[in-house]
């Protein structure tokens, strides 16, 4: 057994004793004494191995602190020993619910280093899959969010039905559903299969009805309103100062979307809008995600209509050595601003590989959002931020 294992064991033993101590304090201690409750690492609504340590006075959260690292796989170190192309599968595993967006952000950074021009068809395919990924990811986020509000899995299963269709499309294109490994430096790995476009057409035809269903089921649900309105509120000033991004930032009213602000892959050619909220509470985040799904469908419609012909992959040597330099490319992933910062020393592998994880940075303000609310509010807030632990820990 290594030293590290011993340390881990000692920690576990320690936390066990600490747990017993607080139980004692809770059951036999002063009533007003704060109680520390660990939500996670194994907990139904921490969405992975994430641990939220809340200090409670009764049911009121006095302090919330997160403990992460349970899923730390040291990707940034591992990536330094693999070629630029070999690193693409790693990015799948960073955010396994939006693998396409991660592929895309990494490839954009690598292309910036290598100075590669991406053919127009590849650009359009990238947009198509990034938006499909957004639909799938938001379906998951909203479903689990309502589950955290206490629904008994019904909305989750409804949303999963749509996500399933998107994943089927991924599978028919690149053979994988979650860890797609589809984007390549200079384009995408495969051209679209023949059956994809008809499937996508039928998906686009069905979705408006589905979304109307969800709006009827969820948006006027008084209990959902009671649970999510005015909960986990954050001001736009603090949101900007906390580097929040994505739907969490837009729910506060700040119209910041990289697809508009810094268009990549030809997003400037498509017509879509950026929905923003007003209150910055959990319900606005939910609504913003719902509205974003609609906008994504709008983009998908345009991509299908204007899909150009041509090569799907630029002529990039497999064993490319970029010039020494650095690149920072960002995309608007479903969770927010996802950036990859690559430093090259002229070698075959990145000298430094850094991912700007929106899930992690969006958690910066978790304490501010949840202190003062109840334990149940903290869970709803965490659910509304939509974290992916693979991306937090990397």
């Amino acid at each position: 057994m290594t030293t590290a294992d011993d340390t881990r064991l000692a920690m576990q033993e320690d936390s066990h004793l600490a747990m017993q101590g607080t139980i004692e304090a809770l059951t036999t201690g002063d009533g007003s004494e704060p109680v520390v409750v660990n939500l996670g690492p194994q907990h139904p609504s921490t969405h992975g191995v994430f641990r939220l340590k809340v200090t409670l006075d009764g049911e009121i959260v006095q302090d919330a602190e997160m403990r992460i690292g349970y899923l730390h796989r040291s990707m940034e170190k591992l990536a330094e020993e693999r070629t630029y192309t070999q690193n693409i599968p790693f990015t799948d595993r960073i955010d396994y619910l939006a693998a396409m967006s991660n592929n895309l952000a990494y490839c954009l950074a690598a292309e910036e280093l290598l100075g590669v021009e991406v053919p127009p068809r590849a650009q359009a395919i990238r947009v198509m899959f990034a938006e499909l990924q957004r639909v799938a990811s938001h379906a998951m986020a909203n479903g689990t969010f309502i589950n955290d509000c206490g629904a008994w899995h019904t909305p989750l299963f409804y949303m999963f039905r749509d996500r399933e269709r998107v994943l089927d499309m991924f599978e028919m294109t690149c053979g994988a559903r979650l860890t797609t490994n589809y984007m390549r430096i200079g384009g995408v790995a495969f051209d679209l299969p023949d059956e994809l476009l008809p499937t996508l057409e039928s998906f686009l035809a069905d979705m408006p009805e589905r979304i109307a269903d969800y709006e009827a089921l969820l948006m006027e649900n008084e209990i959902l309103h009671a649970r999510a309105r005015g909960v986990g509120v954050i001001s736009p000033e603090l949101a900007v100062n906390s580097s929040l991004s994505g739907p969490v930032l837009r729910a506060t009213g700040v119209p910041w979307d990289l697809r508009k602000a810094n268009p990549y892959c030809g997003y400037e050619d498509y017509e879509f809008d950026v929905p923003v909220g007003e209150q910055g509470d959990c319900f606005d985040r939910f609504l913003v995600r719902m509205a974003e799904v609609k906008e994504s469908l709008k983009i998908l419609r345009q991509v299908v209509d204007t899909l150009p012909d041509g090569p799907y992959l630029a002529d990039v040597p497999l064993h490319a050595r970029p010039e020494p330099g650095e690149a920072y490319a960002r995309v608007e992933s479903p969770r927010g601003e996802l950036g990859f910062y690559l430093v090259s020393d002229g070698g075959p592998a990145p000298y430094r590989f850094h991912c700007r994880p929106p899930s992690l940075i969006n958690l910066t303000a978790l304490k501010e959002m949840s202190v003062g609310g109840t334990l149940a509010d903290a869970i709803v807030t965490l659910g509304s931020i939509d974290i992916v632990v693979g991306e937090i820990d990397r």
Partner: protein
Amino acid sequence: MSDFGFHLAFWSLAAMTIGGASMIIISRNLVHAVIWLVMSMLGVAGLYLTLSAEFIAVVQVLIYVGAISVLMLFAIMLTPRAERDNSQNIKTAGPAGLVVIMVMIATMWVAIDTDWGAVREAALTEQARLIGESLIKHYILPFEIGAVLLTAALVGAIALARQDDEDAAVHAASLQAELEGDGSVDPVDVVDPPLPSDGEAGS
């Protein structure tokens, strides 16, 4: 009902009541004591049943088991541990015991001395109606006094609970100060396990 069934019920219920009451005194854990108290009260409810007073029996369960004991559990949960340590009260235990014994003797004397005029007729079928009528007609004054007393207690309890709001404001302010301050690390959080020495390091 023949005597055998009655005696069986009476003695087992009496054992349950007195046994539970004794265990309240013996058990050192307050929560255990409450659970024994519940057992004792259930025994009393059973005794009422043997006296054909099913209304009183059911009310006993409803109020004492369902409400009073739960109230006690809440009180225990909300009491600081230091104030629950009975060893500090050992000086008052003697006089208190004396008072209790005197009250008990007085009660028993009254109980034995009173001519209860046992009812030998069939069990009353409409006890609730009789109790209600006697409360409203004959004992209206005590009933009203009890009602006023309970209302006063309720208002007092709400007033006591209301005071917490001021504390809450202070508390929120201190919490805010803590948030804005330099955010010193909570000592509980620092898990600093001793690094195993070479000898202890397992292979």
